[in-house]
Subunit: 140 residues, 2 copies
Protein backbone atom coordinates (compact mmCIF):
# COMPACT_ATOMS: atom_id res chain seq x y z
CA UNK A 1 0.00 0.00 0.00
CA UNK A 2 1.25 3.47 -0.84
CA UNK A 3 2.25 5.57 2.13
CA UNK A 4 4.12 8.85 1.80
CA UNK A 5 7.66 8.73 3.21
CA UNK A 6 7.93 10.67 6.47
CA UNK A 7 10.67 12.97 5.14
CA UNK A 8 8.47 14.05 2.22
CA UNK A 9 5.49 14.47 4.56
CA UNK A 10 7.61 16.65 6.85
CA UNK A 11 9.26 18.88 4.22
CA UNK A 12 6.35 19.29 1.80
CA UNK A 13 2.72 20.31 1.70
CA UNK A 14 0.01 18.16 0.15
CA UNK A 15 -1.55 19.72 -2.94
CA UNK A 16 -3.57 16.80 -4.30
CA UNK A 17 -3.61 13.39 -5.93
CA UNK A 18 -3.27 13.24 -9.71
CA UNK A 19 -4.20 10.00 -11.54
CA UNK A 20 -0.77 8.51 -10.79
CA UNK A 21 1.14 10.80 -8.48
CA UNK A 22 0.71 12.61 -5.23
CA UNK A 23 1.51 16.25 -5.93
CA UNK A 24 3.48 18.03 -3.22
CA UNK A 25 4.78 21.55 -2.83
CA UNK A 26 8.18 21.78 -1.16
CA UNK A 27 7.88 24.18 1.76
CA UNK A 28 10.85 26.27 0.65
CA UNK A 29 10.05 29.80 -0.44
CA UNK A 30 13.40 30.14 -2.23
CA UNK A 31 12.18 28.20 -5.28
CA UNK A 32 8.81 27.19 -6.73
CA UNK A 33 9.32 23.46 -6.24
CA UNK A 34 6.83 20.69 -6.98
CA UNK A 35 7.36 17.02 -6.26
CA UNK A 36 5.58 14.11 -7.92
CA UNK A 37 5.37 10.88 -5.92
CA UNK A 38 3.88 7.97 -7.88
CA UNK A 39 1.30 6.33 -5.60
CA UNK A 40 2.76 2.87 -5.93
CA UNK A 41 4.20 0.90 -3.05
CA UNK A 42 7.90 0.07 -2.71
CA UNK A 43 9.05 1.85 -5.82
CA UNK A 44 12.48 3.40 -5.96
CA UNK A 45 13.24 4.07 -9.65
CA UNK A 46 11.24 5.71 -12.40
CA UNK A 47 12.20 2.97 -14.85
CA UNK A 48 10.46 0.42 -12.61
CA UNK A 49 7.07 2.01 -13.21
CA UNK A 50 4.89 -0.08 -15.55
CA UNK A 51 4.63 1.15 -19.15
CA UNK A 52 1.15 2.53 -18.49
CA UNK A 53 2.34 4.32 -15.37
CA UNK A 54 5.30 5.79 -17.26
CA UNK A 55 2.89 7.40 -19.69
CA UNK A 56 0.78 8.76 -16.86
CA UNK A 57 3.91 10.06 -15.20
CA UNK A 58 4.97 11.77 -18.42
CA UNK A 59 1.65 13.62 -18.65
CA UNK A 60 1.78 14.70 -15.04
CA UNK A 61 5.40 15.81 -15.32
CA UNK A 62 4.56 17.86 -18.42
CA UNK A 63 1.74 19.57 -16.53
CA UNK A 64 4.09 20.39 -13.63
CA UNK A 65 6.54 21.94 -16.08
CA UNK A 66 3.78 23.95 -17.75
CA UNK A 67 2.54 25.23 -14.39
CA UNK A 68 6.01 26.23 -13.25
CA UNK A 69 6.29 28.31 -16.40
CA UNK A 70 2.79 29.76 -16.54
CA UNK A 71 2.31 30.52 -12.84
CA UNK A 72 5.85 31.28 -11.74
CA UNK A 73 7.62 32.35 -14.92
CA UNK A 74 10.36 29.71 -14.61
CA UNK A 75 13.46 30.67 -16.59
CA UNK A 76 14.75 27.11 -16.42
CA UNK A 77 13.31 23.83 -15.20
CA UNK A 78 15.20 21.30 -13.16
CA UNK A 79 13.56 17.87 -13.27
CA UNK A 80 15.29 15.17 -11.27
CA UNK A 81 14.81 11.77 -9.68
CA UNK A 82 17.64 11.39 -7.15
CA UNK A 83 16.41 9.66 -3.99
CA UNK A 84 19.78 8.91 -2.45
CA UNK A 85 18.52 9.93 0.97
CA UNK A 86 14.76 9.37 0.70
CA UNK A 87 14.30 5.97 -0.94
CA UNK A 88 10.67 6.44 -2.04
CA UNK A 89 10.52 7.40 -5.73
CA UNK A 90 9.84 11.12 -6.00
CA UNK A 91 10.63 13.44 -8.85
CA UNK A 92 11.60 17.05 -8.25
CA UNK A 93 10.27 19.75 -10.59
CA UNK A 94 11.90 23.05 -9.72
CA UNK A 95 11.54 26.47 -11.32
CA UNK A 96 14.95 28.09 -11.50
CA UNK A 97 15.91 31.72 -12.00
CA UNK A 98 19.22 33.36 -12.68
CA UNK A 99 18.61 35.38 -9.51
CA UNK A 100 17.70 32.49 -7.20
CA UNK A 101 20.07 31.84 -4.29
CA UNK A 102 21.62 28.63 -5.62
CA UNK A 103 21.85 29.57 -9.30
CA UNK A 104 23.46 28.06 -11.36
CA UNK A 105 24.13 25.18 -8.98
CA UNK A 106 21.58 22.47 -8.25
CA UNK A 107 19.43 23.42 -5.24
CA UNK A 108 20.05 20.36 -3.09
CA UNK A 109 22.27 20.94 -0.10
CA UNK A 110 22.92 24.59 -0.91
CA UNK A 111 20.77 26.45 1.59
CA UNK A 112 18.41 25.40 4.39
CA UNK A 113 14.75 25.61 3.39
CA UNK A 114 13.00 28.91 4.14
CA UNK A 115 9.40 27.99 4.96
CA UNK A 116 6.56 30.01 3.44
CA UNK A 117 4.33 32.02 5.78
CA UNK A 118 1.04 30.28 6.55
CA UNK A 119 -0.88 32.79 4.46
CA UNK A 120 1.43 32.48 1.48
CA UNK A 121 1.35 28.69 1.70
CA UNK A 122 -2.45 28.58 1.78
CA UNK A 123 -2.66 30.93 -1.20
CA UNK A 124 -0.11 28.91 -3.17
CA UNK A 125 -1.86 25.61 -2.53
CA UNK A 126 -5.17 27.14 -3.60
CA UNK A 127 -3.56 28.53 -6.75
CA UNK A 128 -1.94 25.19 -7.60
CA UNK A 129 -5.18 23.28 -7.02
CA UNK A 130 -7.03 25.60 -9.34
CA UNK A 131 -4.51 25.44 -12.16
CA UNK A 132 -3.92 21.67 -11.94
CA UNK A 133 -7.64 20.92 -11.74
CA UNK A 134 -8.08 22.78 -15.02
CA UNK A 135 -5.69 20.32 -16.74
CA UNK A 136 -6.14 16.95 -15.05
CA UNK A 137 -8.14 15.05 -12.45
CA UNK A 138 -7.04 16.25 -9.03
CA UNK A 139 -8.34 14.97 -5.68
CA UNK A 140 -7.70 16.63 -2.36
CA UNK B 1 20.39 21.52 -37.15
CA UNK B 2 21.54 19.55 -34.14
CA UNK B 3 25.05 20.24 -32.99
CA UNK B 4 26.45 18.98 -29.70
CA UNK B 5 27.22 21.76 -27.21
CA UNK B 6 30.96 22.30 -26.81
CA UNK B 7 30.90 21.67 -23.06
CA UNK B 8 29.32 18.24 -23.58
CA UNK B 9 31.74 17.49 -26.40
CA UNK B 10 34.65 18.41 -24.12
CA UNK B 11 33.58 16.54 -20.98
CA UNK B 12 32.09 13.42 -22.55
CA UNK B 13 32.92 10.66 -25.00
CA UNK B 14 30.68 9.77 -27.93
CA UNK B 15 29.16 6.29 -27.65
CA UNK B 16 26.60 6.39 -30.45
CA UNK B 17 23.35 7.77 -31.80
CA UNK B 18 20.13 6.13 -30.65
CA UNK B 19 16.90 6.78 -32.59
CA UNK B 20 16.35 10.06 -30.72
CA UNK B 21 19.36 10.81 -28.57
CA UNK B 22 23.09 11.05 -28.81
CA UNK B 23 24.48 8.76 -26.12
CA UNK B 24 27.52 10.08 -24.27
CA UNK B 25 29.70 8.69 -21.52
CA UNK B 26 30.88 11.31 -19.03
CA UNK B 27 34.65 11.04 -18.79
CA UNK B 28 34.63 10.78 -15.01
CA UNK B 29 35.80 7.48 -13.59
CA UNK B 30 34.20 8.21 -10.22
CA UNK B 31 30.71 7.25 -11.43
CA UNK B 32 29.26 5.28 -14.36
CA UNK B 33 27.53 8.26 -15.95
CA UNK B 34 25.60 8.29 -19.23
CA UNK B 35 24.09 11.38 -20.84
CA UNK B 36 21.26 11.42 -23.37
CA UNK B 37 21.11 14.43 -25.69
CA UNK B 38 18.00 14.51 -27.92
CA UNK B 39 19.23 15.29 -31.44
CA UNK B 40 16.86 18.20 -31.91
CA UNK B 41 17.99 21.77 -32.46
CA UNK B 42 17.47 24.55 -29.91
CA UNK B 43 15.81 22.45 -27.28
CA UNK B 44 16.23 23.28 -23.63
CA UNK B 45 13.50 21.41 -21.74
CA UNK B 46 12.34 17.81 -21.85
CA UNK B 47 8.69 18.90 -21.83
CA UNK B 48 9.26 20.73 -25.12
CA UNK B 49 9.99 17.48 -26.95
CA UNK B 50 7.09 16.44 -29.22
CA UNK B 51 4.84 13.66 -27.91
CA UNK B 52 6.49 11.14 -30.23
CA UNK B 53 9.95 12.21 -29.13
CA UNK B 54 8.94 11.97 -25.48
CA UNK B 55 8.06 8.32 -26.02
CA UNK B 56 11.37 7.69 -27.79
CA UNK B 57 13.16 9.43 -24.95
CA UNK B 58 11.36 7.28 -22.41
CA UNK B 59 12.52 4.09 -24.15
CA UNK B 60 16.09 5.28 -24.40
CA UNK B 61 16.13 6.44 -20.79
CA UNK B 62 14.81 3.06 -19.64
CA UNK B 63 17.59 1.33 -21.56
CA UNK B 64 20.21 3.57 -19.95
CA UNK B 65 18.84 2.68 -16.53
CA UNK B 66 18.86 -1.01 -17.36
CA UNK B 67 22.45 -0.84 -18.58
CA UNK B 68 23.62 1.03 -15.49
CA UNK B 69 22.16 -1.77 -13.41
CA UNK B 70 23.18 -4.76 -15.53
CA UNK B 71 26.70 -3.64 -16.47
CA UNK B 72 27.70 -1.59 -13.44
CA UNK B 73 25.52 -2.92 -10.64
CA UNK B 74 24.05 0.49 -9.81
CA UNK B 75 22.68 0.59 -6.27
CA UNK B 76 20.70 3.73 -7.06
CA UNK B 77 19.99 5.68 -10.22
CA UNK B 78 20.08 9.46 -10.47
CA UNK B 79 18.22 10.72 -13.53
CA UNK B 80 18.18 14.47 -13.98
CA UNK B 81 17.64 17.23 -16.50
CA UNK B 82 19.24 20.34 -15.02
CA UNK B 83 21.00 22.38 -17.70
CA UNK B 84 21.52 25.55 -15.70
CA UNK B 85 25.03 25.93 -17.09
CA UNK B 86 24.85 24.04 -20.40
CA UNK B 87 21.64 25.18 -22.10
CA UNK B 88 21.34 22.28 -24.57
CA UNK B 89 18.85 19.70 -23.27
CA UNK B 90 20.76 16.75 -21.85
CA UNK B 91 19.64 14.21 -19.32
CA UNK B 92 22.06 12.70 -16.83
CA UNK B 93 21.79 9.01 -15.97
CA UNK B 94 24.20 8.20 -13.17
CA UNK B 95 24.83 4.96 -11.30
CA UNK B 96 25.27 5.72 -7.63
CA UNK B 97 26.79 3.62 -4.89
CA UNK B 98 26.84 4.03 -1.13
CA UNK B 99 30.65 3.98 -1.42
CA UNK B 100 31.02 6.54 -4.22
CA UNK B 101 32.84 9.78 -3.33
CA UNK B 102 29.80 12.07 -3.36
CA UNK B 103 27.26 9.72 -1.75
CA UNK B 104 24.56 10.56 -0.67
CA UNK B 105 24.86 14.02 -2.19
CA UNK B 106 24.18 14.74 -5.85
CA UNK B 107 27.39 14.43 -7.89
CA UNK B 108 27.38 17.89 -9.49
CA UNK B 109 29.96 20.27 -8.13
CA UNK B 110 31.28 17.84 -5.53
CA UNK B 111 34.58 16.70 -6.99
CA UNK B 112 36.51 17.49 -10.17
CA UNK B 113 36.16 14.79 -12.82
CA UNK B 114 38.78 12.04 -12.78
CA UNK B 115 39.28 11.03 -16.40
CA UNK B 116 39.43 7.35 -17.35
CA UNK B 117 42.67 5.99 -18.72
CA UNK B 118 42.65 5.67 -22.52
CA UNK B 119 42.51 1.88 -22.30
CA UNK B 120 39.68 1.87 -19.81
CA UNK B 121 37.75 4.40 -21.86
CA UNK B 122 38.10 2.40 -25.07
CA UNK B 123 36.98 -0.77 -23.29
CA UNK B 124 34.00 0.97 -21.73
CA UNK B 125 32.83 2.49 -25.00
CA UNK B 126 33.11 -0.92 -26.68
CA UNK B 127 31.15 -2.52 -23.85
CA UNK B 128 28.44 0.13 -24.01
CA UNK B 129 28.14 -0.15 -27.79
CA UNK B 130 27.70 -3.88 -27.53
CA UNK B 131 25.05 -3.80 -24.84
CA UNK B 132 23.08 -0.90 -26.32
CA UNK B 133 23.17 -2.36 -29.82
CA UNK B 134 21.56 -5.51 -28.41
CA UNK B 135 18.53 -3.44 -27.27
CA UNK B 136 18.08 -0.63 -29.77
CA UNK B 137 19.34 0.81 -33.05
CA UNK B 138 22.73 2.40 -32.39
CA UNK B 139 24.88 4.20 -34.95
CA UNK B 140 28.52 5.16 -34.44
Amino acid sequence: MFELHEALARDCVFVGDLPLCRLLLMNDSQYPWLILVPRRADLREQCDLSSDDQLLYLQESNICCGVLRSEFGAEKLNVAALGNMVPQLHIHHIARFSKDPAWPKPVWGQFPALAYTDDRLAALVAQLREVFAACVELKY
